[in-house]
Symmetry: C2
Subunit: 492 residues, 2 copies
């Protein structure tokens, strides 16, 4: 365990960086911008994967796997997509290293092993997948095609931060093909809804569903839907996106199908993804100055049992009790760890499990054995109480739900407290500076105004919320007419 964390109100960014490393979630690697996801962090990601994968399969999607590399000629086929990603892609140019004759033991790129065509390491897979779909789709009978891929992707970001922005990250990307515009749009919306439901119910993070403006859309998309979350420092975080791609990729890769009526038509498409970035959202929504706070639904360890003892005899008696309790808790579906290590003191262990966000801690000492009690400590509220041994299991089970609900409620209250309706640009800047959060304001609908607001304030339009009320008003910057408020915020 490292030293104490920098308090959040002192330096939020520093707190985050320290927490990710000290809680054993991830660390920087020897490769610029690429992270190592450590076992504890990866265990949380695996839980997210399992839940998402289940939802994808329940809605008829199948997993598949497409190549890591995209030949340059395919990469450039859909122009906007290519333009959007060309500036930040890793390019493979050679397929062999050889010994440096001037420096034995060292290797150099073999100039004779230059590829005829360069390969781009996928920053996203629309190009390689739509080139493949061309061979899979002939008739309306082949549609819809509902496929998901779990994969690594690479985007050569210049300024990286663990989980939030890394050169390589893990994600899932769904790529679907449909016979009609309506079906593709319905799929786009369905997947955005699935993301929202998962993020709210498992990550305990409230999100706002909406559409991106043109300038914030995915490169190559006709519409981008998103879920936007709010972090504790008042900055927004895009937690997932679902894109309606129209016929753009079908046209770029010439993917047509024969309709029921016998006509040749271009296929309609969607794509959607969430990534290890969600780990950043999880951390910045719930955690505190003592470390990580994990919602029980995603905690790799839900309950930790720590023995308090002075001698072997006490340790053995407590261990026996802890073993029984562990079995009882596991029988009701709770994941438990008993930390009987003699290399660390209980105080050290308490701090460690607080740092790692284990939702519930049970301490058992000799007195507890006598009294038939245990000490139960909640990570989220940092409260402790003595509970009768016979009530522990029911209590713990109840707390799993209660803590999950409390975290969502708390995050929801914070988020709702940080949506401010503003009708004046001076106020806009003031709220953004002093309070942060989402600013709900009228906007004239032009990219030019959006760009100017971004230039003046660094705030961008996070989304045009789906549930926003229709309301006549005037643009907060230009005074031109507007029919709906949109949500501005500074964002990760």
């Amino acid at each position: 365990m490292g030293k104490n964390l920098t308090p959040r109100n002192e330096d939020y960014s520093k707190w985050y960086n320290e927490l990710v490393v000290q809680a054993d979630l991830a660390e920087n690697s020897a490769v610029r911008g690429c992270m190592v996801i450590k076992p504890y962090g990866y265990a949380i990601w695996e839980k997210m994967q399992a839940q998402l994968d289940k939802r994808f399969k329940e809605t008829g999607h199948q997993n598949a796997y497409f190549p890591l590399f995209v030949p340059k000629s395919l990469f450039e086929a859909e122009e906007k997509n290519a333009e959007g990603f060309a500036k930040e892609c890793a390019v493979v140019t050679h397929y062999r290293l050889k010994t440096d004759e001037n420096n034995p033991g060292k290797l150099i790129v073999d100039p004779e092993a230059k590829l005829e065509e360069e390969l781009v390491v996928r920053p996203t897979s629309e190009a390689i997948i739509w080139n493949t779909y061309k061979g899979w789709i002939q008739s309306y009978r082949d549609l819809p095609l509902l496929i998901n891929q779990w994969a690594n992707v690479v985007r050569w970001e210049m300024r990286t931060r663990l989980f939030l922005r890394t050169a390589e990250f893990l994600w899932q990307e769904g790529h679907t093909a449909h016979a009609t515009r309506e079906e593709a749009l319905a799929e786009t919306e369905q997947m955005n809804n699935i993301y929202a439901e998962f993020v709210e119910n498992f990550m305990a993070i409230p999100v706002i569903k909406g559409a991106k403006t043109e300038s914030e859309r995915f490169a190559g998309a006709v519409e981008t839907y998103c879920i936007e979350a709010l972090m504790q420092d008042g900055k927004a975080l895009q937690a997932g996106t679902s894109h309606f791609l129209g016929q753009n990729f079908a046209e770029a890769f010439d993917v047509k199908f024969t309709s029921k009526e016998g006509k040749q038509e271009y296929v309609w498409a969607s794509s959607w993804g969430v990534s290890t970035r969600l780990m950043g959202a999880l951390i910045m929504t719930h955690s505190d100055d003592k470390g990580l706070v994990l919602p029980p639904n995603l905690a790799p360890i839900q309950v930790v049992i720590v023995p308090i003892y002075r001698n072997d005899e006490q340790f053995n008696a407590i261990s026996e009790e802890a073993k029984l309790l562990t079995e009882e808790l596991r029988a009701v579906g709770i994941s438990v760890k008993f930390d009987g290590r003699d290399t660390h003191k209980p105080g050290w262990k308490f701090a460690q499990y607080e740092l790692q966000g284990v939702p519930l801690r049970i301490a058992i000492g000799p007195k507890d054995l006598e009294n038939g009690t245990v000490e139960l400590a909640r990570r989220d509220t940092l409260t402790k109480e003595f509970v009768k041994r016979e009530d522990v299991v029911a209590k713990a089970k109840g707390l799993m739900t209660e803590i999950q609900d409390t975290l969502l409620k708390k995050a929801l209250d914070f988020r709702n407290d940080h949506i401010t309706e503003v009708d004046d640009f001076k106020e806009f800047k003031k709220v953004l500076k002093n309070k942060g959060g989402f600013i709900s304001a009228h906007w004239d609908g032009t990219t030019e105004t959006e760009d100017r607001i971004k230039e003046y304030t660094k705030a961008t339009i996070r989304c045009i919320p789906f549930n926003g009320k229709k309301e006549e008003g005037i643009c907060v910057l230009t005074g031109k007419p507007s029919s709906q408020r949109v949500l501005f915020a500074k964002a990760y």
Copy 2:
């Protein structure tokens, strides 16, 4: 569904290539040597993953994720490992593309975005992982470190074949660190045993466990253990390997720990992996001229129900019955698909599910409804029988085990029939040519002899079997003394 498969005895290699594509397992992509794993093939891989992952976790391993890229300076640190993989690695040299000024709409590598240090796309991850372990291991308390990674890797093979040898493939790679040589060796052996148990019990493929000779060892390993399977054409296939790495990587990356006695010592290591190559082994062990044969333990669909009908009334009545039967089968843990499509005839469907290796097919027609029967067809034996409706579920459940056992038994008999003891080099060549399979022969223990035999016959030493009887003899080529038979074969 495509045309008929080329019969195995006509051209085994062609049969394999056709089967992989026609059964919808995988196909070649636009990227040389890289495959697309299609949903049906990926579903089988997912089942393998789930089983292996469970076994890894049960033996105390945790999953983590390390970068895709290895900086050249790390790649070359362990010399033998570097030498082994340098000849076939994809190298990233640039991090940006830009518009070709002479050819708008086309992109070229931006010469100004050249990396200071080239990045190798991981062909295996020892280098990047041991460079990371240096920061994780200080004391004997940090050991053992038991980590696994599910990932994609790239080896620029010149001659590729779907699943068997592809430029990119999916695998898992375990990387463990230990305080003693004995522990690392025990881990190496344990993981080889886990592979053998999984491959035999889930894939129904019998394997021989043994050690590789020096020339067949993993680059950088002190010992390589392996499991070797035999394909229907008499060629061997290495189905998994587990390496004892000694202190090679610890020395190369300076990973030391303080022992209980307070001494600084280099850490001992193992690494072990299986890959999507197992899919090739699965196909070539059980399948026949009609297509894939899948062991029930790995079949994505274990039972398919096909309705036989002439009109809507019949279809509705059969569908209702099929729905009930589906529920009953699922209740006993069997995965079922009802194929009620009206776009294909029953005969087409029968052929399709045979091609895709669905273990059990149930056909229900109007006569069956009258008689209270269904027609049950086994994929492995291609036998059919009528079964009373009330007996179907119990029968199907029993057959899941029986088919699994039958496939293993059949493969085991074939394998055992194809291990030939040979004591004379003329005989060696004759058996290899006419019968194939494993040749159990004495060898003088030198790489030179091994190389010469390979040169003369294309057969290599697949392994020195762990359970081989000790027996004095003379080398089949040189006549020099030998104390144990080894297994030779041509191999994939």
